[in-house]
Symmetry: D2
Subunit: 105 residues, 4 copies
């Protein structure tokens, strides 16, 4: 993932609105959890079949918007913390491969 | 964001472990919320000052790992739903700029 | 806690609206997480000082309503699972007292 | 619900461990969301059938403990905020009955 452009855009967006004082790690972690809950809310009363077909329903755009909100807060929080999200993912993939070895063919 | 490589890697990882049957939209949305909570847990009893300095503490690696987990489930859910996360973010940025106009200089 | 009256009331409320088919353990756990996020959302951009004074703000009624929603889904989920919430709390208090011994006076 | 006894017990438990300084509204809201996620985690990869039978599985005690944790943080947060949870629920039930009228028989 190359998130540099998005990081800069979100930083400028927050700066232009004087939002940096709100964007503490603690607050952004809370905001991220709220955005994920807005996604969960779409699925909460659906059957598995309905949930599986969500992108063929009139909730499709809504789902896309919530996924985007989650991505933006995740990138924003990474920026504020000074975390290279790309490197963090790469490192975690290595850890996961060791933790959950694939069964042999 | 170019998430194509990561999408393919996570898809192959799940396939090798026969996890695709678990990776329904509903389950992945739940898993995403659980991963975000693991991040929130790191901050929950901290003062603002402690939270702001988290990357200079011995929780720094832990924070990176949780951010990575969130990114991976977010990309995995987007893949399963057939959502182009990059385009979704671009569209949402346009919406947000209209919804929250920057004050004039 | 004596939750028997509330359990019966929520059961009748759901039955009258034909909602029992939605009230599976998985769905109710998701709904509970969504309600908690609605509470978190009230606090997410607040300073500690603002959050501490929330009940003297015009968000006071809103906070009460979200706390009530959480209580109702928690009791509803306990009913559906057949869990005696009162006994569960009593047992957990004993466990916590052993896990976190109080420092001696 | 009569939560007075539990409120007093949780207050004394926190006082004996010098935890009151951690128990701010913002922190307790975060902690509550983390406890709910620990419940969601139990269900996240289960089928509906598995989730429906959870209390006949060896996760039954675990579910009870998570429900208890949620109840305890909910009551603790209500105490710290000075909210009468019982009255809040009663008021919300009236609101819900108006918002979602039952279909006529």
């Amino acid at each position: 993932m190359d998130t540099a452009g998005l990081e800069a855009e979100l930083h400028a967006f927050a700066a232009a609105r004087d939002w940096h004082r709100f964007h503490t790690p603690k607050n952004l972690a809370m905001a991220l959890s709220v955005e994920v809950a807005e996604l969960v809310e779409i699925f909460q009363w659906q059957t598995e079949a309905q949930a599986n077909a969500i992108m063929q329903s009139d909730e499709a755009r809504h789902v896309e918007q919530e996924l985007a909100d989650i991505a933006m807060y995740l990138v924003r929080l990474s920026t504020v913390l000074g975390v290279d999200l790309n490197r963090a993912v790469t490192d975690k993939l290595v850890m996961n491969a060791q933790k959950y070895p694939a069964p042999e063919a």
